[in-house]
């Protein structure tokens, strides 16, 4: 393509006001986050009045009056996210192998739909449905109900990168392994899994973030007394926003950005490797 002075080339950068619109969009997207991050370092009880740089609200998160509550919620969030992502990744891996390697079977399209539709279902619907379902089967709401719900809604998110990865792996690798005396498990363990690993890691990290971040479903089915970080923050905000919430939110944001970047880099280096071949 010619990108020089060719009038027919569609180049949005040449449109008047392009830079201005871009900056406005970026501002709307990121200004609230920047405000939260900036004011988390504010040495003032007021959330709007700046009175100098301080780390007191970060100290407050870890040692203040609400520290015990946050610590418990953080522990719940992390342990649930870790377990849910692990279980969801295993289920998604099995599903991907069945779907991609299972050949043609009746209801394949339907199965794919059933796996991916939960991503599109409004969360509030899932939340209400799960609440009704759990009370119907008599499951006591609490840590376990949150964990089960998180595993379920994480599976489709884990499934997508794993199945995408598996589709790029030729079946002849597994055939070669089996031809060289590996049974099905060993062919998976020594050949297929190492090749799928980048997809599995991406799926795991995505599921982990989704679980860590979930508020609506968790809020419905958490039961009394069990909090995750998002529900704890929501609870605290209801009593009025204190700057320690901003510090906590900033910490969560950093953690999420870290994980997403990690997931991105795993996916990217893998793609580069494939391009090199």
């Amino acid at each position: 393509m010619f990108t020089g002075n060719n009038n027919r080339t569609y180049n949005p950068r040449r449109y008047p006001g392009f830079l201005f619109i871009t900056l406005v969009c970026l501002l709307i997207l990121y200004a609230p986050l920047l405000v939260v991050m900036g004011y988390s370092f504010n040495d003032n009880l007021s959330i709007t009045k700046w009175s100098g740089f301080s780390l007191r609200w970060y100290t407050d998160v870890f040692t203040g009056p609400e520290a015990a509550k946050f610590k418990k919620a953080a522990w719940n969030s992390l342990s649930i996210a870790l377990s849910a992502a692990l279980v969801a990744t295993s289920f998604a891996t099995a599903a991907a192998i069945g779907m991609v390697r299972g050949g043609a079977f009746n209801g394949k399209t339907l199965s794919f739909g059933l796996i991916s539709i939960p991503i599109m279902v409004p969360e509030i619907v899932t939340a209400v449905a799960m609440l009704i379902f759990f009370s119907m089967i008599g499951l006591k709401l609490g840590y376990l109900s949150i964990l089960i719900a998180h595993i379920v809604f994480c599976i489709p998110f884990a499934y997508l990168p794993i199945s995408a990865r598996l589709q790029g792996i030729e079946a002849s690798f597994e055939e070669a392994a089996q031809d060289l005396y590996a049974d099905r498990w060993k062919a998976f363990r020594y050949v297929l899994m190492p090749l799928m690993l980048p997809g599995m890691l991406s799926g795991f990290l995505l599921a982990f973030i989704i679980s860590l971040d979930d508020f609506i479903i968790t809020n419905f089915i958490k039961g009394a007394g069990v909090e995750t970080l998002p529900t704890a923050i929501f609870g605290a905000v209801k009593q009025g926003i204190k700057p320690n919430i901003m510090a906590l939110s900033t910490l969560m944001l950093l953690f999420s950005v870290l994980l997403v970047s990690l997931s991105y880099f795993i996916g990217r280096t893998d793609k580069e490797k494939n391009d090199a071949n």
Binding site: Q178, L180, Y181
Partner: protein
């Protein structure tokens, strides 16, 4: 009984994929130590047959015997055969050494035995200095050698090769042909080699099974399938040939299947019938004559076939002539360039055409 044991016995094997018949019922034996080639165009069922022997596909009916033991439902990992895949399927996350040692590792060999065998194999395929490389860091020819070494390391009774040379460039392909053939003689392993390349098949094989549309057309040594094609398909698929419509005028009942046939253009020609069955007078078919079996002479008074040179093509070692016989039939011939000028003809020259009766194969419909 034959003194050479049978390595693989294909017994009434058929394979259907739904409505599609990949292999019609076929039976034949492959001898131990043999370099056996399945030759045919794509879609003829040769790769399917290889995958049945390897255990990746089940037969619809019939059985495969390996050294007289039935293989029918054994999974691939329990069959003492190994495969060299068309795209090599080298494990990209493993070094050359680990690729070659993979089968041995799965068989439960000790670390030391694996190392010794891997050393031996990399020496055999001359890849000593690449042992720690990953497959992506090797050239196509080197990857090919790793695939061979990996498949041969567990000392399989039969080695299956699925178009292993098709990804290489011409020069390397010719070199690998000789190496493969030498490797097969050296190790004594039975090779079953799948290819669509007739030159590969002719230069390497002890015997060739020519396949088409799920059926074996002919099994024989390279010279048999070339010199004595059993059907029109074999005559056309292997090498070049002149195919002329003809019918039998006198079927002699004596030996050698000698028949006299009459071309549709009118000439009567003594020929050899490819069919072992007695032919009736009037049976229709094709006369196949290889271009290099035809001799050209300057026109004389003998009543040989006479014609005119229509075109000449210089091919280096040979010259190809297109000849129109007086009856209107077109033939092409190939004459080796000996450097002797008197054998050269030019466009418009009148010539006599002659060939031995056993060079004219009558292939009945």
């Amino acid at each position: 009984m034959n003194s050479i044991p049978t390595a693989v016995s294909i017994r009434a094997v058929a394979k259907h994929f739904g409505q599609f018949v990949a292999i019609r019922e076929m039976s034949f034996d492959i001898a131990d130590n043999e370099f056996f080639t399945l030759l045919g165009p794509s879609g003829c069922g040769k790769t399917t047959l290889l995958r049945i022997i390897a255990g990746f596909e089940n037969t619809t009916s019939g059985t495969v015997l390996l050294f007289n033991e039935e293989l029918k439902n054994l999974p691939p990992n329990q069959r003492p055969v190994n495969t060299v895949f068309q795209n090599y399927a080298l494990f990209p996350h493993m070094s050359v050494a680990n690729n070659i040692g993979f089968g041995l590792h799965m068989l439960g060999w000790s670390r030391k035995d694996i190392d010794d065998r891997v050393d031996q194999m990399v020496k055999t395929v001359r890849l000593e200095e690449f042992i720690n490389r990953k497959p992506a860091q090797l050239s196509g020819g080197q990857q090919q050698r790793v695939a061979l070494a990996r498949a041969m390391a567990p000392k399989p009774k039969v080695l299956l090769l699925d178009e292993p040379l098709s990804a290489l460039d011409l020069k390397l392909r010719q070199q690998m042909r000789a190496e493969l053939k030498a490797l097969q003689k050296e190790t004594g392993i039975t090779f079953i080699f799948v290819t669509h390349d007739q030159e590969e098949a002719l230069t390497m094989s002890d015997r060739i099974a020519v396949m088409s549309a799920g059926e074996v057309q002919q099994i024989g040594s390279p010279s048999e399938v070339y010199e004595q094609p059993a059907s029109r398909f074999v005559a056309e698929f292997i090498g070049d040939t002149n195919l002329l419509d003809a019918s039998v005028v006198s079927a002699q009942s004596n030996q050698h299947n000698q028949v006299d046939v009459k071309l549709d253009s009118g000439e009567c020609i003594p020929a050899t019938a490819a069919s072992p069955h007695a032919l009736e007078n009037g049976a229709r078919g094709h006369l196949s004559i290889r271009p290099e079996h035809i001799t050209l002479n300057a026109l004389s008074t003998t009543n040989d076939l006479a014609g005119t040179i229509r075109n000449t093509t210089y091919l280096g070692t040979d010259t190809q002539y297109e000849i129109k016989l007086d009856s209107g039939v077109n033939l092409f011939t190939r004459t080796q360039n000996s450097g002797n000028q008197q054998h050269n003809f030019s466009i418009g020259n009148k010539v006599n055409v002659s060939f031995a009766p056993n060079s004219a194969r009558f292939l009945s419909h």
